[in-house]
Structure formats: C-alpha cells, structure tokens
C-alpha cells in the first residue's frame, strides 16, 4: 500500500467529478432546514450501488462534509439551523450575521474546513488506537458523558441559570413523550398513535428556531436588512484575525469534535454543543455568548465538521457506526463488499488511504464551493421580508414533513414554534430546550440500563476508570463557576 497508489486512485477524474457534484448537492441539503446530511446520505446510497466503490463512498464523504458547513448558512442569515449540527451556534451566528453576514460565514467556512482536516488527519493516523479507546464506553460512561452534556445546557444559558434549568426540564419532558425506550412503556401520548414515537427532533428544532423568527419578522413586514452593509463586505475579511485570535479554541474544538464523533451514538450535533459549552466555560468573555460571540461560533463549527470525520473511526475499525451518517454509509460500504474491521485496512490498504485523501480533498474543495455558496446565499438578505417569510415558511413545512412523511410533524413544528415564541419572551433559553431534547432520553436510558445491569448497585457508576474521570469532569463543570467567583472576590 503505497501513498502513490492511493493518490492515483483518489485523483481519478470520475472520483473528483463525483466529489464536486456531491459538494454542490451538500450545499443545498445543508442549507435547507429539515433536509439533513443523514437523509441525503440515505438518498445517495442507492446510487452508490451502481458506482465504483471509491467514487460512491467519496460522494457520501464530500456531501456530508459540505452539508454540515452549509447548515450554518441559514443560521447566520435567517436564524434557522440547516441541520441539527448547527443548532448550538445558531443564536450567536445570527447575531453576528446581523452586522457582518458574509465575513461571519467566511470565518465559519475556514474553521469548518480546519476542523474537518484535523478530524481527517486523526482518522488517518490513529483510527485503530482511538477506536480501541472508545470501545471501552459502556452505558455507564455514556451516562456521565450525556449528563455532562446536559449540564452544558445550563452553562450555555446566558444570565439566569435557573431559566436554563427550566429549559432543560421542558426539553426533557417533551422528549419523554411516546414509547419509553427501556421498558417499552407508552407514556404521555393521550392515546394518540402519532405520539407513540414521541416528538420528532427535526420538526421540533425547526419550529423552535424558525417560527419565532418568522413571527418576529412578519410583525414588521416592511423593515429591511441594510443592504449598504452587504456591499462593502468581503467573505474572507475576518479570517486572518479570527485564526490568530482563536487558535487555541480551534485546536481544542477540533480535538473535542473528533473525539465525540468517534464515540458511537454521539454525532456532530452533540460535538458542537459540547465544544460550545466548553468554550464558554473557559472563555475570557463568557458574557458575549448568546449575543453574538465569534469565539462560540468558531468552537461549535470547528467541532461539528471534525465530528463528521471522527465518526468514521469506529465505523471502519469495528463496523460500529459513529453517527447516523456513517450508520447509513456502512450499508454502502458493505454493498461493495468492503466489510469494516481491521482486515479492511490490510486487504484494501491503498483504497482506504485513498478514502483518507478524499477526506482532505473534500475539505479543501469545500472552501471554494463554500465561498460560492456564501456569495450567492447572502443575496437572500436583499429579499424583502414580506416575500421571504412565506417562502421560508413553505420550506420549513416541507422540511418538517419530509423527515417522516407525516403531516403530524408539521403540526408539531408549528405548535412548538409558537410555544417557543412565548418561551423566548419569558427568557427561557431555546438552545437549552433543544439540547435537552437530544440528551434527555440518552441520560434516562443509560442511567436505567446501567442499574439493571448492576442489579441496582449504584457503585457501578464509579466502578470503572473512564467513568470516574467523566464523573469528576461533570462535577467540576458544576462547581467551576463557584470557584471562579471566590477567586475573583479574593483578588479584589
């Protein structure tokens, strides 16, 4: 397996062509609320059956990479996350976008690419070792990890932690509707068949972010975005400054992202939240978070792209998918007779190296295609509100519908959206609610199954080294603000 062979494979015209096509596709998918990278992968898989394996898998890799970046485009321009992986930074990104849409997206793009490249390099050089480490995670470790993530929901809620807690409670309760995952017990459905599967996450997310913003905009339909601002702005204006200022943030976020991505069952969305929360905890300016912190956007956007690469680590080494995208891509790999496992690296050495090269090409090419996408998409700010709002509403409806082909989900979107509007007015942080919908059920499931396994012995939660480490991390996250306050008091 020489690098030369791999390069020759990766640089075939049909492969590069597939990557380019997939990147354009990815821009669309990511930018449309409701159409996620996961869904697009599922749509691509049947095509890949009839393609050369490298070209087929490369399409999935390139599409997912770009989609995760382009999910930030509607977040910056419209306050609607295009994919769940953009939810963490949506509010900050939008606040920045009110002033400098193009250059915010420019920083976002470069950081996404850097995150993706870091993830790819880690995948290339230490996949087996990292997979070996993550294979030690049982439900006990996941319990601590998800609980830690849930405490981030309180960390990220700006001024009033108590309303952050309330947001978590509301999100958690929303997520507990439907068939309960441990015992299969049906709860809080009021006899409705549609509610059996609970509130679908993507319609809920679209509703919580998009509807309040649409309502706010339509209540003053003739106000416009100042186009004057748009004219003097270049996409890469802020990049150099941002890279210098946030270099530690970028490195840390890329590492967090890759690691979370490599954990089976936790994907780009959780990676972005975690990285954002950590960045806020250690930031010098935590008060800017939630009001347009470029640091927060950088942290989240770097991590979510790193996670996309990281997710391939357990997928290739053990055949256990790292996220929902690789879960589907696994099927495409198998359809080409590429059975994951350590043998894959030996038997198809140069092909696997060629995949890694594609990762790097996809991330580099993304800067070019992302640039075009930013140039084009910022034009929607020129569209008057009374035209934009109904069009966006239709896209939200089809997005919510398309997830499960269910009109019920469209109602879920609308009802939760109106609810979200009032919650916003009462100062309950929407991001905390959304994060609790993702993590709440995981905390519950891992807590109860761990106790079933240990015959109700609570010692199980601190019986293994990684679990102890994560427990300390969680408790540290809780007490850190108190320590800080003390230190500040002592110094003054």
């Amino acid at each position: 397996m020489s690098l030369y062979d791999a390069l020759q494979l990766a640089l075939q015209p049909n492969v590069i062509f597939a990557v380019i096509i997939a990147e354009f596709f990815g821009v669309f998918i990511g930018a449309m609320p409701g159409l996620t990278a996961t869904m697009a992968t599922a749509l691509l898989v049947p095509f890949t059956y009839f393609m050369d394996p490298l070209a087929g898998i490369s399409m999935i890799i390139a599409m997912a990479t770009v989609a995760i970046f382009s999910g930030d485009i509607p977040a910056v321009l419209l306050k609607i996350p295009g994919t769940p992986a953009s939810a963490a930074q949506t509010i900050d990104a939008y606040q920045l976008g009110r002033r400098k849409p193009a250059s915010t997206l420019g920083v976002d793009l470069v950081c996404s690419a850097l995150g993706g490249l870091t993830g790819s390099l880690i995948l290339m050089f230490s996949a087996p070792a990292l997979a070996e480490f993550t294979s030690n995670f049982s439900t006990v470790e996941y319990f601590w990890l998800t609980l830690w993530g849930l405490s981030m929901a309180i960390v990220i809620s700006a001024e009033e932690p108590i309303k952050g807690v309330l947001g978590v409670v509301i999100g958690f309760l929303i997520a507990s509707i439907g068939i309960e995952p441990v015992y299969g017990y049906v709860r809080f459905t009021f006899g409705s068949v549609e509610l059996l599967n609970g509130i679908s996450f993507i319609p809920a997310m679209i509703g919580f972010f998009a509807i309040p913003e649409l309502l706010r905009q339509i209540s003053r339909p003739h106000e416009r975005y100042s186009i004057q601002l748009l004219k003097g702005e270049k996409v890469f204006d802020l990049v150099v400054v941002a890279l210098k200022k946030f270099k530690t943030v970028i490195v840390r976020s890329a590492l967090i992202g890759t690691f979370i991505g490599a954990l089976p069952g936790a994907g780009a969305d959780i990676a972005a939240w975690t990285s954002y929360g950590v960045a806020k905890r250690v930031s010098k300016k935590p008060e800017e978070y939630g009001k347009g912190s470029l640091e927060g956007v950088v942290a989240a956007t770097t991590a979510n792209n790193a996670a996309i690469s990281g997710a391939w680590i357990p997928t290739l080494v053990f055949g256990i998918p790292g996220d929902s995208i690789t879960a589907i891509a696994l099927g495409a790999l198998m359809a080409h007779g590429l059975r994951p496992g350590p043998m894959l690296f030996e038997r198809y050495g140069s092909l696997i190296t060629a995949f890694f090269i594609i990762f790097i090409i996809a991330n580099l090419l993304m800067i070019l295609i992302g640039y075009l996408a930013i140039k084009l998409s910022t034009n929607i700010l020129r569209v008057p509100r009374n035209i934009l709002v109904p069009v966006i509403a239709v896209f939200c409806v089809i997005g919510a519908y398309a997830v499960n082909n269910s009109i019920f989900d469209v109602w879920v979107m609308l009802v939760l959206g109106i609810l979200g509007y009032f919650m916003g007015r009462l100062g309950i942080p929407i991001p905390s609610v959304v994060l609790a919908i993702i993590l709440g059920p995981m905390v519950e499931f891992n807590f109860i199954t761990s106790l079933i396994k240990s015959d109700l012995n609570p010692i199980v939660f601190v019986s293994r080294p990684i679990a102890i480490g994560l427990a300390i991390l969680t408790i540290f996250t809780w007490v850190l603000p108190f320590i800080r306050v003390r230190r500040i008091r002592r110094s003054t």
Partner: protein, 333 residues
C-alpha cells in the same frame, strides 16, 4: 399595506379562480383518461423503519429492480415510528388496490402481544418472503465458555449473574433468548435482558464489558468477530451460515431451537387475488435476479423465499410462537 384594497382583493379572487379552473380541468382530464390496467400509478413501498437501515436498503433495492424490470414507477416511503407500528398501520389501512405494498417485518408478530397496536398478519395478504436472518449467541472473545452448551449450563447454575442485550424489550433478539433458554430447560429469567436501541449499541456495550451476551445476527457482529473482539458460540438456524462456516447451529448442539428476524412483502387485506398474482410474479423475478443475489450476499442478508400461501402459514405460526414466548417471559399482561 392596504392602500388599494378593493382592486387588490378582486385580483386575488381572480387569480385563485384561474388556478382553481386549471386544476379542476386537469383533475377531470386525469380521471377520464386513466387507463384501466394495473398499475395505473406509481407503486409505493411503505417501510416502517428509517431510511438507511437494513429494511430500507432491501426495500429500495427491490423498488429499483422492479422499476428496471417492469418499467413500473416505484416510490419508497418511510413511515417511521412507534417501534414499527406507524408504518405497519399505514400499510394495513392503505387502499387495497395493489399500489401500496408494505414491507412487513418480524415486529408485525409482536404488536398485538406487546399491546402496542392492533395490527397483525390478519390485516394483510402476503405476497412473498424475501429475507431471514437467524439470531446468534455472541460473547466477548475472552469469555470462558467453549460452546453454547457450557454457556447454557453456566446460566442455569448461576441465574441472574450474566446479562444479555440486543434490542428493545420484546424485540426479536430478546424473543430469541427466551426461546433458546426455554427449549434448553432453563428459566428465561436466569439471563436478564438489558434493553438496547439496536444491535450496534449492544455490541459496543458487549466489548466495553457492560453486558455478557448479545443475541444479534451474525452479519451484524461480523466485523467484530474478524477484529477478534467477540466470538459467536452458536447460530439459531436450521443450517450453518455459509459466511460463518465455523459457527455451529443450536440444533447440532442438541437444543432444538431456531429463530430469527424476517422481511417480506404484503398488501392490505381485500386486495384482489389477480393483482396479488401480478405483483408476486413480477417480484419473484426481482428476487431471482443476479443483481439481487449479489446485493444480498455483499450485505450479509440471508436470502429466503416463500410463495403467498406458505408465507401466510409462516406468518400465522410466527405469530403464535412469539405470543407463547412473550407470555412465558411475563411480557403479556
């Protein structure tokens, strides 16, 4: 703003009227000229599981091949939710004209027993069975048991000490566990079930040391077997899996039990028999094609075939067996 109210309102009404007339005309045209033969519109495959999962992948392959071979338009629709109930309910209540084919899966045999939804094989007219995957007994590679008999005896001697996992409570791999232990004369409660959200998270938990046994299918554990992380002690099938020739069947070891998941195609009850026959003949060609065989082989899905009448008997049997086992495990109230 409402500056020129009346003229604006009038023009909206005119615009809507125009649209309505055009639509009405097209409606009329489309109903009048509809050809009487089958199929008259695209054939929809309803899948109760998420896009990208095993059932979805097989359904999309069947739909694509059917479109290639017959020229009929096909659509695959995922109706996900409620542990499969939402999709199966949608299939059962679809118009019985053959244009909606349900991809029914093993879970159909459990809904009534688990009290999830009142839908069973009785609501369907089967077309054919196309896939069966047997359960296997997977343990960590460094586990002390040499074969399934040793393991079974250990469970009998140390009830409650080991834990097994693989799917949700009452899921296919859970029922496989109950049947295996019951046939071997062991109380199923001697090996408590830890619910999991699927085979992949369960295998992760197995290698992390969270549970001791996983009763999922062999292809699902394939990469980890190859990686030397886990080993398969036995497969609950009538004969060995050709891809895993070293794994004995439970029957070889003297435990007369075979069980697994299956996937098949069916239409709502009340569909005319001649349409079922047209569909069966077309779909039989699909699953006899070399492309289908290659696809199933590479994915590690087990190929199977049962014609409508035998599939109907199979469904009835499966429903009864599952009911008895769930009762034995105390899941049915």
């Amino acid at each position: 703003m409402f500056t020129s109210g009346i003229s604006k309102t009038t023009s909206i009404i005119i615009a809507i009227l125009i649209v309505a007339v055009v639509v009405g005309g097209l409606y009329y045209y489309s109903t009048v000229t509809a050809p009487p033969k089958f199929p008259t519109k695209p054939i929809t495959f309803i899948v109760s599981w998420a896009a990208g999962g095993g059932t979805d992948r097989t359904a999309r392959m069947i739909a694509a091949l059917l479109e290639n071979m017959t020229g009929w338009k096909t659509v695959v629709e995922n109706r996900v939710g409620g542990g499969g109930t939402i999709g199966h309910l949608a299939m059962a209540t679809a118009p019985p004209d053959g244009h909606t084919i349900g991809v029914i899966t093993f879970e159909l045999s459990t809904f009534v027993w688990m009290g999830l939804a009142n839908v069973s094989y009785k609501d369907f007219k089967p077309i054919l069975l196309y896939n069966k995957d047997a359960a296997a007994i997977i343990v960590r590679a460094d586990a002390p048991w040499k074969d399934a008999i040793e393991l079974t005896n250990y469970i009998k001697a140390n009830p409650g000490k080991l834990k097994a996992s693989g799917t949700a409570k009452g899921g296919v791999w859970d029922i496989a566990r109950i049947g295996w232990l019951k046939t071997a004369g062991v109380d199923p409660n001697a090996l408590p079930w830890v619910p999991s959200t699927g085979a992949a998270p369960c295998l992760q938990d197995l290698i992390a040391g969270g549970v001791d046994i996983c009763t999922c299918s062999l292809p699902e554990a394939g990469p980890l077997i190859e990686a030397g992380k886990v080993k398969a002690l036995a497969v609950m099938d009538d004969k060995r899996n050709p891809a895993f020739p070293n794994v004995p069947t439970l029957k070889e070891l003297g435990i007369n039990w075979s069980f697994g998941t299956w996937r098949g195609l069916a239409v709502p009850k009340g569909t005319p028999d001649d349409i079922v026959k047209i569909l069966h003949d077309a779909l039989k060609k699909v699953i006899d094609s070399p492309q289908w065989k290659e696809f199933m082989d590479k994915n590690g899905f087990g190929m199977a075939y049962l014609p409508p009448d035998e599939f109907a008997k199979f469904l009835e049997n499966d429903f009864k067996t599952v009911g008895e086992l769930l009762k034995a495990a105390g899941y049915v109230q």
